[in-house]
Amino acid sequence: MDDLIQEFIAETRETLDALASELVLWEQNPRDSARLDAIFRFVHTVKGSCGFLNLPRFERLSHAAEDVLAQVRDGKREASGPLVDAVLAIIDRIGELIVVMETGDALPDGADADLIAALNRNIAPPTADPDEEEITVRDEPDPVRRQNVVRSIRVPLELIDHLMNGVSDMVLARNEVARCLRDEHSGASLENAFERLSACIADMRDAIGQTRMQRIERIFSPLPRLVRDLSTELGKQVDLRTSGNNVELDREMIEMIRDPLTHIIRNAIDHGIETPARRRVVGKPETGRLSISARQSGNQILIEIADDGRGIDIEKLTARALAAKVRSSSEINGMSERARLELIFAPGLSTADNVTAISGRGVGMDVVRSNIERIGGSIDLENYPGRGLRVILRVPLTLTIIPCLTVRAGGQEFAMPRSAIREILFDSNSQVRIQQVGGSDLAYIRGECLPYVALETLLGLDMDAEPQTRYRTIVTVNAASDLRYALSVEAVIDHEELVVRPGAPVIMADGLYAGTTLPDNGRPMLLLDPLGLAHRARLNEMPRPERSPAETDEASPESDGGSALLFRELSGQLRLIALAAVERVEDADTARMAMVAGNVRLNIDGESRPVIGLSALPEEDCAKLLHLTDGRLQALYAVDDVIDIVRLPSRIDPASQPGLVGGIALIGDLQLEVVDVHWIFSMLLGAPPESVRPACGLIGGDDPWTRHILAPLVAAAGYRPVMVDGEAGGLDGLDPAITIIVGDSAASPGQLRGQVIRLSDTMNAAGADPDTIYRYDRATLLGRLIAGQQRQSA
């Protein structure tokens, strides 16, 4: 019986969430019988289950609502505003009771008679009410979802977490076995079996990770109701549009963005969108528009909340900031437009004229921002005074797997979220100058001044007396959008994707750590919280460093070709390479390199990778290598030294011939060669390997002509030639993209997929139909093969 009740609670909750938007749509168009049916079905189901489970209170409520809805359905009553309100009230009450039941409390005694009476009060035909609010809320329909109901079962979250833990255990065990296998030099068959096992485990980890994902719909579906209630209360008209409902996010993330999102929407309706009368005066349509969209961009989710209201009045905002003594007038005068706009995030500020029940109490945007930043996200504003405001939330896809930088300090290793890290440099770099000012250190990096702290000092660790590297590494950190500092660490070790879990409350209470993680080596590691470190260093009490104009993108419109790394080749020449392609710089031990098959290769974590730019093993102990990546593949590029990061101009003159140098860029007075990363990867990998090329079936005599003359031609066109025995007719599961039948006499097997070409022995037979080609009509044959190849890749 308990199980049944649990099931009933869960099901009712889910339907309630889904129903919230239906209700509003129905109110908007009471004649929409599909919506009415959906609501009727819900009430009916609740009624049925309650009778069965002996829940008289639910039954009374749902019964009353059902009666009224039935009357509306039969056309005996009209769905007037009060009636809709009454039905909504009943559904709300059901929701409240469900929450009570869920906590395991006994249902409170209470009369629902008032609600039921409200339903029947308006039996008389409703008169047109001129003051009645009119709101339109539209949800972009998602027909695919409604049609394909995915078969699913309900699984407790603990079980999923347990599975996740189990899989993590498996991954660790696999890594240990991998280490053992490497040491033992076991046979190929064992290694193959292990590879298979590894692949299975990796698949499984992905699948389990997927189970934690939920559609953002979960927070979007209650929004129409929220918007309706708010706009009714405030006497405004709002047209809500949502899109991107099917974007998926980790379920913890969903919970974390729910409140900030609600707050932003409240602000938009309360402060942004004007009253209908006001909107008429300024020449806008009476109904304000609020659009909320979500989309995925890389490993981030972007949520945009845009309204067409009055935007933020910066004059008023700065006046308030002065009045509230958040900033002094000299500070405000020195601020850029952007910095003034960001005053909206200052604690204790609001542009609302009146404190309403909905917003304007001065707690708000600062809390929103800190909540979003706490989960590694950011918030941006685009203000169009008089025309609207666009708020852009960026949040990471998942809380649990975070790309991290691992660093060493005081003999211990720590992880830092990569999203907060802007740049990594050595303190020996000529662009870096560290100076002591008033007892604290400041780092000047290319003219920019940042507070400079050592991680050891912050954590109360001793500096390693015998560090493994000569130089310390400086990591510049964006702790928050207005808080940056330079953090000095002993060394940066690696980039890794780490599974991060929250630590014990006693550890998290400090604010220095954002969680714990267990890397492959089995030693627990702490994830540092960049904002917490800044607080520990008392950096948040410093005035916000103004961005120098040279740094903003607007100031240098001609340099918008992205950043590039300026480096010196081993030959001494200066060259540029796109910074986005450089994952990191490593001083690699020469002992890890070997001259193999004419190439210098480097052994990295048991993998052998080619090193570009070296024709022989270097004579020094150590070589500086750029780790290049295209997101999936890695390559290494040997350089003499890394010099600087520069902005590339938008114009790069292309090189005359494709090769290592893709073009010439003018930086200052220097003409510098820009390395073509695409060319490097294409050279390394060559054409796609045999197995991924489309197959081309060759049917006909297995004669030397087919084998030695035709097959190489087919291979050169990018196919994998496969001899097919025409007599047996079996393609053996082969799925050729194109099939060539050699000779006029060879039989054509039926049921061929893809294109079929017949090569004729004589010129006369060719041209009879477009698929017959003379065997030496090389141009036509190649043309057909290449056309087929393009179709494949399209």
Binding site: G410, L461, G503
Partner: protein, 144 residues
């Protein structure tokens, strides 16, 4: 099995911990320190794929942090959905103690009276009953 207790040694004295609170007893090979954390935290250690916080029980009694000896036993407890290892000198036995608990004598020194909850008696031996919640929850520490 409500009356089952794990008998362990903290700072040289035998104590009892209710067994229903205990997940397992493990040997800790090494731990990673947590810089600038509370002094009673020895560090973090890995138990299969989980990261557990190692609590130095001795610190509460003596005020001296203990050095972890490789292979030293830790009692794994789950408190508030988070797992901790309570580092003890030794784990001796699991005993059923059906008798009622006795109130703490008032002359116990501060350290012991804070972690102790009651006394237990079995066959002429008296054990101090330890409260694991107290040792992992800093909020409760302040309240106490």
């Amino acid at each position: 099995m409500k009356d089952l207790y794990l008998i362990a040694v903290i700072a040289g004295e035998t104590v009892a911990i209710p067994s229903e609170r205990i997940d397992s007893v493990v040997k800790v090979r090494e731990s990673v320190p947590v810089p600038s954390s509370a002094p009673f935290i020895t560090g973090l250690f890995a138990l299969r794929s989980r990261v557990l916080t190692l609590i130095d029980c001795q610190y509460f009694v003596t005020g001296e942090p203990a050095d972890l000896i490789a292979g030293q036993p830790a009692i794994v407890v789950d408190i508030g959905g988070c797992c901790y290892g309570l580092l003890v000198d030794d784990v001796l036995d699991v005993l059923p103690i059906p008798t009622d608990t006795l109130p703490l004598p008032s002359q116990l020194p501060a350290g012991w009276s804070e972690i102790g909850r009651a006394l237990l008696e079995l066959g002429g031996e008296t054990y101090l009953l330890i409260d694991p919640d107290y040792m992992v929850n800093p909020a409760m520490r302040r309240a106490a």
